[in-house]
Amino acid sequence: MSHRPLYKKSPHCGIKIFLVMLLGIALALTAYERLTGFHAQEIVDNSILKAKTFAAPVQEVVSGRGIKAYLLEDKTNPIISVSFLFENGGWAHDRADRQGAAKMAAAMLGEGAGKYNSQAWKEALESKAIGISFSAGKDDFSGSLLTTTENAPQAFEMLRLALTAPRFDQADIDRVRALMLEVLRRQKEHPANELGLMFEEELFRGHPYGRNPAGDPAAIRKLGRTDLEEAVQARLAKDNLIVGIAGDIDAAAASKMLDDVFGSLAEKARTAALAAPEPVFNGVTEQVSRRSGQNIVRFAAPGAARSDADFYPLFIANYIVGGSGLSSRLSKAIREDKGLTYGVYSYQTLDDAVPLLQAGFSTTEDNYGEALDLFKQQWELFGSKGVSAAEVEQAKNFLTASYNLRFASIGNIADILTAMQKYRLGQDFLQKRNSYIEAVTVDEVNAAAAKYFNKDRLQGMAIGSFDKVTKEK
């Protein structure tokens, strides 16, 4: 047998062999990649569990006495959750000489009502696994109820009593007062809390937002039954009430509950929206010297209100800069690539009187100067250079794909229903929300970045040791 050449000679033989080899390598690499690479999209496409449309139909319920609420009926478990708030009833609405009244009132509504003294009240709730709680936030006075369907009639009756016939027994007032003073005594144990108090006092100078959220010790010592009654009567009314209901209850039962529980409240609240504070944003980061394990810094800049046309573009911009956790730009620059901090973040706040964009991190003294420079660099870079289309796409993917996660518990759903009404998002918000995200363009995000991210308008305050920082500069 004669030897047969593998390839016929031809003028282009060398090139051909080379091309064939290239093709072979490419095929081999592809095969290798198929075997060893990770193909996220393929896994999702071939997943046996497909995405489900999750209807979440929200109904608007209007009771006989005209009280409105949003309801999401869910019969999966025999549980009902009610979330409610009274607008302009929070601690920032306390009289200047009664700072702490809203918080004390919130605590005291959990200390018995009607025929139930404090102990009888708590025994009754515990034995029926009913949860009723109240809290005074900055803007709103809010509350929630969680009950099994079986015990719902008693739960609703107890909530009615708490709202309309709280006892305010003296021994309970004294006990709650002592606890509030204890909270104040240990408020500054963690330097982050001390920083928060000083920063907000300075930022909102003279405005109620700058007050200590835990109240004023001198006022708390004087607060009595009459003050609590006044605080409750001024705040708890029908015209500033918002209610969200979720779980095992239908519209007719929800409507009856609204009248039974809230029907006898006053028509009008004696509290009003606050004037907007006028914070100064001047790019200065003040330093407060304290002995502490780490330096902590906080920043604030102007933000966009929930109803502002800039809200969604800024929402996405903030997600990319510092809202997305480990892969945010700030986290990448300061944590993941440099190891300078455990956490750096930015977030939007939507307080009624002023929307803000806020940020912060903590780090040991030796890292502080470098971390601060990187932070400001990133902030400025974001404002001046903006974002890529890919970053916006990625942010939208997360924000839309993670949307269903918020339906994990009915308590959370009731809270969402309340927020939808407070911010006037519309009854179809749950169906439309992802389309609001998807509609945002790269240009809009860049416009928001340019408008809101400017280090000369970033107001900051830091607490810790700055000797090394100053020496290095």
Binding site: F38, A40, I43, V44, N46, S47, I48, L49, K50, A51, K52, F54, T76, N77, P78, I79, Q119, K122, E126, S127, K128, A129, L146, N151, A178, L181, E182, E189, H190, G283, V284, T285, E286, Q287, V288, R290, R291, S292, G293, Q294, G325, L326, S327, D337, G339, L340, Y342, S362, T363, Q394, N397, F398, S402, Y403, N404, L405, F407, A408, S409, G411
Partner: protein, 456 residues
């Protein structure tokens, strides 16, 4: 938020149910490679919690290598051969999954909350990093710096946190539970990449792991997916379990700690108590005991010390039976103004003794009723079932025993509770401590309240 160290909280109130009901109606099976799988169907929303629990935590670290388990947990986010660098974070984020992890003394867990259409993706990524982790020098050095900062943030700026860590250290002495999960700052900075590789190879394996799926999935689908993604992983020889020394039952320690930033007193008392692995019957007595003594504002210690004697502003108890070694029974309290920590500790002793004398079958029934009433809430958020089932499975409790805890509680009798309480109070190793304000101010120059300087 991310990767927080998870001190398994006392789930005792949640652990109880009506006699006939199982807690979650979950299913359990094992893959041929030894991986345990627990499925808890919950079809409320099209979402699922995916968790992989390793039955290894800080107690498994070699002496002097404190912080290894926790640092490794961080490094698990730094890439594998297939999914290099921050690929895992990026992919999960692209797909709307919330992802995190935590380390405790006895276990380490990785978890994602995700839409069901992305569950397979999370499983593929988690299975990949169980055996293909690639540690790079640069990532190791960075992540070590990050956990050092984490330790500073969690403990060094938090005097109450430091007090509680010290209370545990005093009680556990030479027991591995004495060591902080993060490691000390010095230990953290002395860890090496080789330490991480050694820990990874001897602990991260299917035969040391529990998979939990809780949410919109049925058991048959869960089995199919578990076999597809985790089935091919190979068993590995595991490191020998660490010795859990017995503490001297007569051990009673007491300390006081003064801290400069502290303006109010706190007291704590903890006992090395039975756990599921030490005395599986005793734990139900102690669960009822803790609820009776100090869980909530209708409990006995609260009524006596806060309401009647006005010696405390607050008092509470907690019992954690879900441990590989000892469980922990703890009492925390805050004295009323004018009452010293020492006085309050004495008052707790007296109130405890009085409460034991008053413990009747009727009181025990009342506690059982309260525990039973809230059972249905366990079926609401799928995350709750995942955490409870996973953390108990990780310390070796089979699902059928987790499911029937309610029946066990129903069997508890006042006489049994009294006996367990007596054993705890008189014969369990215990430590008490008082956290107080520092009497003298810090040397001048280190603390200058109100001094501010502008800096651009």
């Amino acid at each position: 938020m991310r990767r927080l160290i998870f001190h398994i909280v006392c789930f005792s109130v949640l652990l109880v149910s009506a006699a006939q009901a199982r807690l979650f109606n979950g299913e359990e099976f094992y893959l041929p490679n030894g991986m345990q799988v627990i499925v808890v169907p919950n079809h409320k929303a099209p979402i699922v919690k995916h968790m992989v629990w390793y039955k290894s935590g800080s107690v498994d670290e070699a002496p002097g290598k404190g912080g290894s388990a926790h640092l490794l947990e961080h490094l698990m986010f730094r890439g594998t051969a297939k999914v290099p660098g921050d690929g895992l974070n990026k992919i999960l984020e692209q797909n709307g999954a919330e992802s995190n992890a935590f380390t405790s003394t006895d276990m380490t867990a990785y978890h994602q909350m995700t839409d069901i259409s992305r569950l397979e993706l999370a499983m593929a990524l988690e299975a990949d990093r169980m055996q293909n982790l690639k540690l790079r020098d640069k990532d190791f050095a960075l992540e070590r710096d990050i956990v050092y900062q984490e330790r500073k943030e969690r403990v060094d700026n938090n005097p109450a946190g430091y007090f509680n860590e010290t209370l545990r250290r005093v009680l556990w002495q030479n027991h591995p539970y004495a060591r902080p999960v993060t490691g000390t700052p010095e230990e953290i900075m002395s860890l090496t990449k080789e330490d991480m590789e050694a820990f990874y190879k001897s602990h991260y394996a299917p035969n040391n792991a529990v998979l939990v799926l809780s949410g919109d999935i049925d058991a048959a689908t869960a089995r199919q997916l578990a076999e597809k993604y985790y089935g091919p992983l190979k068993k590995r020889p595991l490191a020998p379990r660490p010795e859990m020394p017995r503490l001297e039952p007569s051990f009673k320690a007491f300390f006081t700690m003064e801290q400069p930033k502290v303006n109010s007193i706190r007291v704590g008392k903890i006992f090395a108590a039975p756990s599921y692995n030490i005395d599986p019957q005793d734990i139900y007595n102690l669960t009822v005991l803790s609820a009776y003594m100090g869980e909530g504002e209708t409990s006995k210690l609260y009524k006596k010390l806060v309401l009647r004697d006005e010696k405390a502003l607050d008092v509470s108890t907690a019992y954690d039976s879900g441990a590989r070694g000892y469980g922990t029974f703890s009492i925390s309290a805050v004295p009323a103004p004018g009452i010293s920590g020492e006085e309050l500790l004495e008052a707790i002793d007296d109130a405890w003794a009085e409460a034991i004398r008053e413990l009747t079958p009727a009181e025990v029934d009342k506690i059982k009723t309260k525990m039973r009433a809230g059972l249905v809430y366990l079926r609401d958020n799928p995350e709750h079932a995942a955490y409870i089932a996973g953390s108990l499975a990780a310390i070796g409790m089979p699902l059928n025993e987790i499911e029937k805890q309610a029946d066990e509680i129903d069997e508890v009798k006042a006489s049994g509770v009294k006996k367990s309480a007596e054993k705890l109070w008189k014969h369990a190793p215990q430590a008490s401590g008082i956290l107080k304000p520092q009497k003298e101010l810090t040397p001048s120059g280190t603390d200058q309240p109100g001094k501010k300087e502008g800096r651009r």
